[in-house]
């Protein structure tokens, strides 16, 4: 840091976190440790990490807050010349929301559902004693205008449930910016929003931060989002910041093996990539290895990585990495994982045809005459925003929804409506994998029972033979036989999804219907699941109907794509053509709003 920037900081805000450690109450286990980061005015710092990395804990510690069961053991958050963590709580309360503001992950839960929007904003100003009654209302209007929302009386009189998800999030942003804070902590504020809405919220946020000279910390698991909005990026792993640097450097020349592995795991919009995962999962407090915390999963690990705690090594201007071997592991190339796009000119052996599919919920028609087909050993992606009908279509194919008209033809045979109207053969050969592996596996059954059941049901194998096949299948999805007799609550999300895939494979299917199967998982896990599916497609000639909202993922996994909007097919064709040269306005809009790393 130069002399001038320090001076600058003292005048206009910003804040410095140093040597922060948050530990679990009653233990000496740390949730986050040795957090050193400087937030400069007018700059957005992206704090990226997978689940369990401690990113939210680090974020809320800036407000001198720790969740129940944890406490801030030591460290300092220097803001306007004083250490926020050392202040008495009355003082901290004055600073919270006023000087250091927080935007939570789920604004729907943060806004009071029984109070009108206008009143909630005015109440915030009252609480801090700002202005007169008329000024407060005017302030609320100005705040809403700033985030691109209407400021008329009708809007002020609405309740939170009368707004869309994106609007609610922008109201939360408006409330955060209203007291003119100097520091802003945003905790995954766009998770759960559609890409176009997310694009708008991010744009608003970025503009406000720069125009108000706010120092923002943007906490997220999504590297692609960070690549679009952050000035600097901090990557967290197992409670520590393992790499910190300017955005360009972080995405062009990442120095830490973990950052590199994460970047290898994320799909790109502009090219197909062979995604890879990181073996294992992020260790929680108490299971973290000593010395370098990444040493159990690192591909460059050496003996000294297990003995010496790595210091922050300067690898470039304003760019540090916490790794002993930064100079030794060579440079990284973003194109390393590139593969060729699926070839549009291969012969297609059609196995599933969907003809004029109309789907109803009660009397309401939600899908309006969709037609497309799936060929053998081909992945067809269904993409669209929430409410576009992509999951509904997949549920009809999977036999989970009965109210539809039109023709579904599987290998020349018409498919019945709902699984009970189908033959055992059809039920066996089309398998459905659910979005959330925490809900799709019965918590009372063991893995062996779950995976073995389709075999018993369809008469594929029984008893000892079935158990042997379960072991084989678990091996195919990269799970060891040690999990056989465990219940699912002992497994991580990625492992559960692997079990769900193994269950689907147990029926020896020809078509897998995958409904957003990676959206509940971390990127590194998503990478390995995608690699697994690609391998299954090649070795077992399985076709897939892959439902997703992530266009970048489509590029890396699918050969054909169907873009849906409001229950109708907007554009369809080969992935290369649709993503590189979209013809429809909607597809173009979707593509431009999708956060991309490249």
């Amino acid at each position: 840091m130069t002399e001038t920037s320090l001076l600058d900081m003292n005048q206009t805000g910003g804040c410095t976190v140093s040597d922060l450690r948050v530990a679990l109450t009653g233990t000496n286990l740390d949730v986050v440790d040795e957090i050193n980061i400087e937030l400069r005015p007018g700059e957005v710092v992206g704090l990226v990490g997978e689940s369990g990395s401690g990113k939210t804990t680090a974020g809320t510690a800036l407000l001198a807050y720790s969740r129940r069961g944890a406490f801030i053991e030591h460290g300092s958050v220097t803001f306007e010349g004083q250490n926020v963590l050392a202040l008495p709580w009355e003082k901290v309360r004055e600073i919270r929301g006023m000087k250091i503001a927080y935007v939570p992950q789920d604004p729907g839960a943060a806004l009071n559902p029984a109070i009108r929007i206008g009143r909630q904003i005015v109440e915030l100003l009252e609480l801090h004693g700002i202005g007169s009654a008329a000024e407060r209302t005017e302030g609320a209007r100005a705040g809403l205008r700033e985030v691109g929302l209407p400021d008329d009386d009708e809007f002020l009189a609405r309740y939170p449930h009368q707004l869309s998800g994106g609007q609610v999030q922008r109201v939360a942003l408006a409330m955060a910016f209203l007291p003119k804070p100097k520091v802003l902590v945003l905790d995954e504020p766009t998770t759960g929003l559609d890409v176009t809405t997310q694009g708008m919220v991010l744009k608003t946020m970025g503009e406000l931060c720069r125009s108000h000279r706010v120092a923002a910390l943007y906490v997220t698991h999504d590297l692609a989002v960070v690549a679009n909005i952050a000035d600097r990026v901090a990557v967290m792993y197992a409670g520590q910041i393992i790499e910190l640097g300017p955005r360009e450097a972080m995405f062009r020349q990442p120095a830490h093996p973990y950052t590199r592995a994460l970047l290898d795991a994320i799909p790109h919009l502009s090219r197909a990539r062979a995604l890879t995962g990181i073996p294992g999962s992020t260790p929680g407090p108490g299971r973290r290895p000593t010395a370098c915390r990444f040493n159990t999963r690192c591909e460059y690990v050496q003996d000294r990585c297990r003995e010496i705690e790595p210091p922050d090594v300067e690898v470039g201007p304003d760019h540090t990495a916490r790794c002993l071997r930064v100079g030794e592991i060579g440079s990284w190339d973003i194109d390393r994982g590139n593969t060729t796009d699926a070839d549009p000119n291969t012969d297609r052996d059609i196995i599933l045809t969907i003809e004029d599919l109309k789907v109803f919920y009660g009397r309401k028609e939600v899908v309006h005459g969709v037609s497309f087909d799936v060929a053998k050993a081909e992945v067809v992606a269904l993409v669209g925003e929430s409410g576009s009908g992509k999951t509904t279509i997949s549920r009809c194919v999977g036999g989970l929804h009965r109210q539809w008209t039109g023709e579904l033809t599987f290998e020349g045979r018409p498919l019945g409506k709902g699984s009970r109207a189908r033959s055992a053969e059809d039920r066996k050969r089309i398998q459905y994998i659910f979005q959330n592996p925490y809900l799709s596996l019965n918590p009372r059954l063991t893995i062996a029972q779950i995976v073995g059941r389709p075999m018993e049901l369809f008469g594929i194998a029984k008893g000892k033979a079935a158990r042997d096949r379960v072991v084989e299948l678990l091996d195919a999805v990269a799970l060891g036989p040690t999990v056989l007799d465990l219940q699912t609550n002992r497994l991580s999300g990625g492992e559960r999804q692997r079990v769900a895939i193994a269950r689907a494979l147990a029926a020896e299917p020809d078509l897998l219907v995958c409904d957003e199967i990676t959206s509940a998982l971390d990127v590194s896990v998503q990478g390995s699941i995608v690699a697994l599916l690609e391998n299954l497609r090649k070795t077992r000639q399985i076709s897939m109907l892959f439902v997703t909202h992530n266009l970048a993922l489509v590029r890396s996994i699918a050969a054909r794509v169907q873009v849906l909007n409001a229950g109708a097919l907007v554009e369809s064709g080969f992935v290369v053509e649709v993503l590189d040269t979209p013809k429809e306005e909607y597809t173009k809009r979707l593509l431009s709003a999708s956060p991309a790393v490249d």
Binding site: N436, R453, R503
Partner: protein, 276 residues
């Protein structure tokens, strides 16, 4: 994977309510089972004049029988009958509730409206109505009546719990595989309901004891000469001021027992509420 794993036992041990309830219940159950072995006098043995403090420390009842001995003898029937009635009520109620929740639609509507009608009758009234028609009720009539009158109450709870489970993806997954409906209910739905249902069973046991004792007090005992906690209150109520122990002893023991089972039910509910 069983409920009795060391980790679970530790969790149960920390739940003081549950432990207290279980200990009280266990002590009284043991007393009811083994009591007759330790009774100083026989069940119908006359030890002195009625309503005096002859015999053992609780004195004598309206026929001059020893109250303490009759308390020790009188628990077995009431406990067995309550347990059977509770089991019957739970089974019936769970079947009704789960069927309504799982099949849904008009069947759910019909079952639950009929259930509401059944709920409108106070339990004891329904039992008395039948008992007055039957001259000398056998034990199984009482069990049947109490059990059946529990069923609608259990059904409501079971339906509520099951509704949250039948919409889960793993149930949908089993259906997509083409599992039979019975198997979906038995393997996927029921095992995930056991914590709230266990708590409900404890509560229903409490009510069963109260009901059966009440029926006994109102004069409907399957064997009038045998000792029975409920019936004893009726027998000795005339001398409440002269020899209160004839009434108080069975009242206290029924009270303590219901508190025990209730605490146990509460503890189970809290334990399962913290996420299983």
């Amino acid at each position: 994977m069983s409920i009795v794993s060391p980790a679970n036992l530790r969790r149960i041990g920390r739940q003081r309510r549950l432990v207290t309830g279980a200990v009280i219940t266990l002590v009284i159950v043991l007393m009811a089972i083994f009591g007759p072995l330790f009774a100083p006098y026989g069940e119908n043995e006359i030890v002195g004049k009625p309503y005096t403090y002859e015999g053992s420390f609780l004195g004598t009842d309206y026929l001059g029988q020893d109250v303490w001995s009759r308390v020790l003898y009188g628990g077995a029937t009431i406990l067995i009958n309550s347990l059977l009635a509770t089991a019957l009520g739970m089974v019936l109620g769970i079947i009704i509730g789960v069927v309504a929740a799982y099949w849904g639609g008009w069947l759910d509507e019909v079952i639950m409206r009929l259930n509401d009608v059944a709920l409108a009758f106070p339990q004891i009234l329904l039992a008395l109505l039948v008992l007055t028609a039957v001259d000398q009720p056998s034990w199984y009539v009482i069990v049947l009546l109490v059990g059946v009158s529990h069923a609608p109450r259990v059904a409501r709870l079971a339906r509520g719990v099951a509704l949250g489970i039948v919409s889960r993806d793993y149930v949908t997954a089993a259906e997509a595989l083409g599992e039979s409906r019975v198997r979906v209910v038995l393997a996927e739905v029921l095992p995930n309901m056991n914590a709230p249902l266990l708590a409900e069973a404890g509560l229903r046991l409490t009510y069963s004891i109260g009901l059966i004792a009440g029926i006994g007090f109102l004069g409907f005992a399957s064997n009038p000469s045998a000792a029975d906690w409920g019936y004893m209150i009726n027998e000795n109520r005339l001398a409440l001021l002269v020899q209160p122990w004839g009434v108080l002893a069975p009242v206290i023991i029924i009270g303590v027992f219901t508190i025990g089972t209730n605490l146990m039910a509460d503890g189970i509910a809290q334990l399962s509420g913290r996420g299983d």
